[in-house]
Symmetry: C2
Subunit: 358 residues, 2 copies
Amino acid sequence: MALTIKDIAKKCGVGVSTVSRALNNHPDINKETREKILKAVEEDGFIPNNSARNLKRTDSKTVAIIVKDIDNPFFATMMRVMEEEIHQEHYTFFIQHVGDKQNEVDAALELVKEKRLRGLIFLGGYFQGQEERLGRIKVPFVVSTAELPDIPDKETCSFITIDNEQESFYMVEHLCKKGHKKIAILAAAKDDCNIGRMRLEGYKRALAEYKIPLHKTLIRHLDKNHAEYSMENGYQLMKELLKEGTTFTAVYAISDLMAIGALRALHEAGRKVPEECAVAGFDGLSYTAYYIPSVTTVVQPVEEMAKESVKSLFQMIESKKGVPGKILPARLAERQSTLGTGPNASGPVPVYNSEVKR
Amino acid sequence: MALTIKDIAKKCGVGVSTVSRALNNHPDINKETREKILKAVEEDGFIPNNSARNLKRTDSKTVAIIVKDIDNPFFATMMRVMEEEIHQEHYTFFIQHVGDKQNEVDAALELVKEKRLRGLIFLGGYFQGQEERLGRIKVPFVVSTAELPDIPDKETCSFITIDNEQESFYMVEHLCKKGHKKIAILAAAKDDCNIGRMRLEGYKRALAEYKIPLHKTLIRHLDKNHAEYSMENGYQLMKELLKEGTTFTAVYAISDLMAIGALRALHEAGRKVPEECAVAGFDGLSYTAYYIPSVTTVVQPVEEMAKESVKSLFQMIESKKGVPGKILPARLAERQSTLGTGPNASGPVPVYNSEVKR
DNA sequence: TTGTAGGCGTTATCAG
DNA sequence: CTGATAACGCCTACAA
């Protein structure tokens, strides 16, 4: 079997507790003893068994991030920022992925027990209908980039998100103000009841407010079986729309990836963007700033969301009280894909746009 | 304290071992007893403590993936494929991220002990000079998308990668064959000794083979302090090059992200691609197929690499013998960004390219 | 089929 | 400052 603390103790002629003290930087230990032990540890390549440690420990100064959707293109950034913030608090942390079929709350429940977590952050996931389960999590947690339902008997939880409906509304309003009246939307699958639906709602509300009738053929839903907000799916949706020949002067994709797929499809069909058709996305992926044409989009405040998530978590850990959820404002970045478009446009579309903020 | 197996036992009026048996689907247990127990477990929301389990267990049917660089854009795909493959073997698995400063091998060593892993896969990372440490990993492991140095006293390890130098060579050769003589390269930081250097070597060799003298000003290195292969860094590098006014007819970026940054910079400078300048990348990110113009690149066999990694791992787990490392061929995808370019070009550049394979 | 007891590798407690 | 020893929660002989 592998090396244990006992072996080290024996080798150094000390008791196991002394070794443990050396390993954990306890103050009450002779300097030389400590060094002798650490040297032996180094030499033999001894590694303490974390399972045993966690089993015994009550306190861990550890938090975890539970990530539901690896693919989500801005989770990488969020994780990096969270990592920094958590380290600043002198906590250790780790990231746990949960698969498509796994339940994120179950994973959390296990982890809290296993690792003696002080708190955790959910990155993505879907929590409607999981109230009861969530209530079982005994440590504070924050749901990041997703809505959190009300949880009976649970105080120390919070959420950070943006107002998907409202931001979506702003985007469509932006198009309306330019005078667009035929605005197609590349939306989520029909039965979606997550952010996809919210963004669609925003679209509908904006049109209503601007007295533009809804055209069913301009609302394109993803297929149930290909429901990812991917470039490929955006591409396909756009192609179908083009094939049908319905007129439209603007396309709003509920995700940047879909917008890019759409742009590709438009390009291949010979439709010039933005001159002949405006295109807008949602999310604020950095890709969109580099695309040609650069893509108008709703930029999610990624860094801030990450920071606020961590902040809320530690607030709860320290105060043992809940903190209210936060809805952060996003930023509409107008880029070339909608520039100078629409009946209300005044001048020609600028050809180059180094001046457009990336 | 939280619920334990004892509480459940007491509640059901049985012994702890019976509960354990129910929990672990042991065959020798009365059906009704089992159901009674499971019902109680469900009711109380009991969750076994994994630390205790792992401590006791010797064997776990678990493998782990250790990911070094969250940002790497094709790791997401690789992870998904690996996940599928590992599940097919009826193993459980999890993904562990290690931070920039953390050492991946140390993380592995800990994990093996803690979770009683049967094997693990490193995704990314850097292993030169870590031979001794790697030798301490007592279970089989595979290094994916990175080189593995020779490890004394360690049989059951392997690697999966592509030949970065050779593939890079092919890409540059491709440009040479088109008649390009002034080929700029956007390369890694000067002191890079990883894939960045290999790709640069391939560039040099290709030029040598085609009797094209090296122009120092055409070799643009990333700055040490901004060494990521990012769009932003590619953009900056390209801008500098353009500013200097050196002539070139093609740009080869050692990563797709940098290529896209470069394309953006060229666009903003009014240089038409591919008409006035060819651009090529490396990696095969799906994004390149949707960019306008679509980007010629070296497509890494992502799926295959993932599958082969898992395959090799299980081969080693089962046979307890090492398997030789594999170097997989990549595919050069010619797309619009180099189409019909160079002195040897025959016709005009096609305007649309729905026919170009995405 | 079920219960009891011992031990997995640590850490915490408490004497020394 | 140091060393025994009892947990931590679970699994697994072994006995019943």
